[in-house]
Symmetry: C2
Subunit: 465 residues, 2 copies
């Protein structure tokens, strides 16, 4: 029962089992501050049956298996920290069926969101969830991703009807149906969404689709303080205006965009906005928003009417990660996120800004504030122990601020490696039941071991007895 023996037995994959250094190294990289951790081997399955056969072998040999998509996860979810097999899903990246008449489609997990939307374009439909990165749909499901449009269309949680997954021992299951709702049995679909590859490997997804809106318009405006910008967001959401996107950029984030892409924006807090609807509806929405924004002293209203202008705007926004990194002048980025009730958003954002200053850190704030979700991006040098310690203190303080305000330690990045330390604080006794599920589904702990659940010496479930 060794990793080596599992890899020997995976030889049936031929040249789709790779143990060369370059490929292993590539699969051990990440975009944040986690140390690179190459797997022992990389497998490139092409069918669900192959995934099942791989898992059967790895289960017998107790070999760790970590699913790999676009490697855009921000809490190290795809890193093989216990060694073993990186299961690269990029050869399972096909749109299997588009059912335009039912507003859904079935895809393989390796397809990325941009490619999916390209393939959908001719149907007049779109898959709206947009976490910024061109992530794989399977990875987005596994981390319960969301992003800029969740305020209008929901997160991955609301946009998946059904899954196919391969479980730890190779069993293939199907959850959900093509119907829009169901009351038949335990909701395994939602249990797998957000499980970060620790309960099963997603091999197929049936997604809800939306009609591409008849009209879209985007705009930006600026505020003299983050507080005014955030209070404008709160008032907008409370008014019931169906915002398609409403993104906050603090002054430091704007500096980052100027440094990274020469955006030339005044270095004050901004909101980036998008409206979807009928042509008349979009105008009406923008007008209503304008009236709300005026109350909070908004200025510099810029409308991006044309599709190219909107693309430029959101492309810039989606580079927030790199723009934040640019401020660090060659440093790594430690990205973190929290989500709070909308009424506590200003308090949370201001506290985060204050904490960063107090700790002597450079940090941007950018966020999907319509959901109460925002990100901080701290520049760090992993070789600078003191700076790493301060960054850790910063993310810890932010996580605890979120919990104190009735929120959660992650709105969309997930737990992975970095946030296990807050799981007990957020979930309390519920954590025992999460452990019980893991134990029941993956008794040998081969599926993404060391992720999501904090280490423990407890016997699962015993704590509740």
């Amino acid at each position: 029962m060794t990793i080596a023996k599992a890899i020997t037995r995976l030889a049936f994959l031929g040249d789709r089992l790779v143990t060369t250094g370059a490929v292993r190294d590539q699969h051990g990289q990440n975009e944040t501050y986690y140390p690179d951790t190459p797997p022992d081997a990389v497998a490139f399955p092409e069918t669900t049956e192959e995934v099942s056969r791989i898992l059967r072998i790895c289960h017998e040999e107790a070999c760790p298996v970590v699913p790999y998509g676009a490697a855009s996860s921000l809490e190290g979810q795809h890193l093989c920290t216990s060694g073993g097999l990186s299961l690269d899903m990029n050869r399972m990246a096909t749109v299997l069926e588009v059912r335009a008449e039912d507003l859904n489609c079935t895809v393989q997990p390796g397809i990325t969101r941009l490619r999916l939307n390209e393939e959908l374009r001719a149907t007049g439909l779109m898959f709206p969830v947009d976490p910024g990165a061109d992530a794989s749909i399977g990875g987005m499901a596994a981390t319960r991703a969301s992003g800029t449009t969740a305020v209008r269309y929901g997160t991955m949680r609301e946009n998946i009807l059904a899954l196919e997954a391969v479980m730890a021992d190779g069993t293939i299951i199907r959850t959900g149906t093509q119907a829009r709702k169901s009351s038949t049995g335990y909701d395994l679909t939602h249990l797998l969404i957000g499980s970060e590859g620790t309960l099963g490997i997603i091999t197929e997804l049936t997604l809800r689709l939306q009609g591409i809106p008849e009209a879209t318009s985007a705009a930006t405006c600026r505020f003299d303080s983050v507080e005014n910008a955030v209070n404008c967001v709160i008032a907008t959401i409370q008014s019931g205006l169906p915002m398609a996107r409403i993104e906050l950029l603090d002054e430091m984030m704007v500096k980052g965009f100027n440094a990274h892409s020469g955006a030339g924006l005044p270095e004050v807090p901004h909101l980036f906005l998008e409206f979807h609807g009928t042509p008349a509806g979009v105008v009406e929405q923008a007008g209503t928003f304008g009236m709300i924004a005026e109350d909070f002293g908004a200025s510099g209203w810029q409308v991006a009417e044309k599709a190219e202008e909107r693309t430029a705007l959101w492309t810039m926004r989606h580079k927030a990660h790199y723009a934040s990194a640019a401020l660090g002048k060659g440093k790594h980025l430690w990205p973190t996120d929290v989500c709070v009730p909308i009424s506590r958003l200003a308090e949370a954002v201001l506290q985060a800004q204050k904490d960063a200053v107090a700790l002597g850190l450079t940090s941007t704030i950018v966020g999907h504030v319509g959901d109460g979700n925002f990100h901080a991006g701290v520049s760090v040098d992993p070789a600078d122990a003191d700076e790493m310690h301060r960054a850790e203190a910063f993310t810890g303080a932010l996580a605890r601020t979120a919990l104190r305000l009735g929120g959660t330690v992650s709105g969309e990045h997930g737990i992975g490696l970095g946030k296990q330390k807050y799981m007990a604080e957020e979930h309390g006794a519920a954590l025992t039941y999460m452990r019980a599920i893991k134990q029941a589904f993956d008794p040998k702990n081969i599926l993404n071991p060391g992720k999501l659940l904090p280490p423990t010496n407890e016997v699962p479930h015993a704590a509740a007895e």
Copy 2:
């Protein structure tokens, strides 16, 4: 370890533990064809801590515990078929907090949806999920209820942010937060929603709220065939029109309304509609719908402008259960529901009508057709073995039609006692993982035993090894 011993130990509840015949009988009744099954005792807890203490005792004594709310479940979910304790949640029926600024509230499980909405009215907010019956919010969560407005606002699945629950051994857990989204750990909230009291007893719910729409208008129209009515619904949903309600009544259902409430409607298929939005938006939506409906030969357009007229309309609709029963002239009603992809709706409805005729049964069809969900209500005499056999054949055929068309055997009534026989067909290997969760969470099988999961001699999870 007996039920009797558990009841003795529950004496701490004083007069809130009742073993008198009348109260037990009342808790053993149901509105459908299931035989009455009184519990051994009824407990009326007033706090979460009391629920916890009750469960700790029942766990030690292996005494079945079945939560009881408004008793409006339609698949026998609240019946104590293994004896034991009926846990009546009606003394835990308070609105604990309304956070209008965050569009959410926290309530106890015993409050009913109508009372909740009365208490919310002054805030301008509403809890939109409306299954027809004035069900308890806890029961609605436990059965993953939905109803007439789910097409616009989603089901219980989409409208619960957080739960408090007492688990089998008395452990109190909290799932979710007040934030609108989270990516931290396994989604126990959605695991409990729809678990029909078999995994934990819900003691507190944090619900998403919606602004009461600025304008509401309702309307009815009729069609010369069910096929035209359903095809009109399909075209409407595909057009993206944000219907608030779109309900189908087949000719038999209309007959039932005429018999039950003297509705005086022409006995042909009808759609009942509701539009929510701004005053201008509502007019625009109704106009767009009118143009679509014209293509399918709609006639007899009646608008219910005033609030009283709308109330009368939906009150009539919500009496569908009793109106269907009225056609049976004193018989019981065997209600069933399925949900299919919207494109297969006409096929499913027409097949159901044909099956009822072929089996010599009187059945109504009424449904939340915007979701692809509809109900059939068959009049049965439980003493007539042949008729019961034919009704069983009808519901079985309908369930299998739904599965054949890519749908589910229940859109909202759930599994309870009556639909366990279809669980393996719908879920296949996934059923093993549902059993594994039940085994991990409730190893002594005290929580609503005999519901949701079909009986088995398998060792849980072993089937997947």
